[in-house]
Symmetry: C2
Subunit: 91 residues, 2 copies
């Protein structure tokens, strides 16, 4: 189920862009919202999808909630792809 959740989370351009933003460091929900032409409610749901997929982690700091990237789960995709490609030797 993990791979399924991860791939589904990645199959949306806004969510991928959120991950790209978080590459630069943690951001509050509001800061993320400001980067997109959709409502905060919409971004909030995207964030929850990413969180369910464990692609991001959140921590509240006062009235802000900060999100940060958790790229470690992407390893599973790498392994799946590598297996599919049948990369016996990669020199």
């Amino acid at each position: 189920m993990a791979l399924q959740n991860t791939l589904k989370a990645l199959a949306d351009p806004i969510r991928r862009e959120i991950l790209n933003l978080l590459k630069g460091g943690k951001m509050s929900a509001g800061e993320i919202v400001d980067k997109f032409p959709v409502t905060g409610a919409s971004i909030s749901r995207h964030l929850s999808v990413l969180k369910d997929a464990d692609l991001i982690r959140d921590t509240r700091e006062g009235k802000y909630i900060f999100y940060e990237l958790n790229a470690s789960v992407l390893e599973e995709i790498m392994l799946w792809i590598t297996d599919l490609k049948g990369d016996v030797d990669n020199d």
Copy 2:
């Protein structure tokens, strides 16, 4: 758009399983259909999604259409993920 198509194609368990099957060599549409508990029409649409994403190639041989894996487009996902992970050094 390529990455989007690829990830969307991968975000379905049946389509991923089709790719896994094709790892073992090319198969006709009918052989693929036999592996799943859904109709041929349904598999046919899955195949067209995979084909649009260029993850598979088809060649007709007589009355059969054979499908084979084209894993090369997965490279793009690998690159995207690698970039996201910020793998500066991977020892």
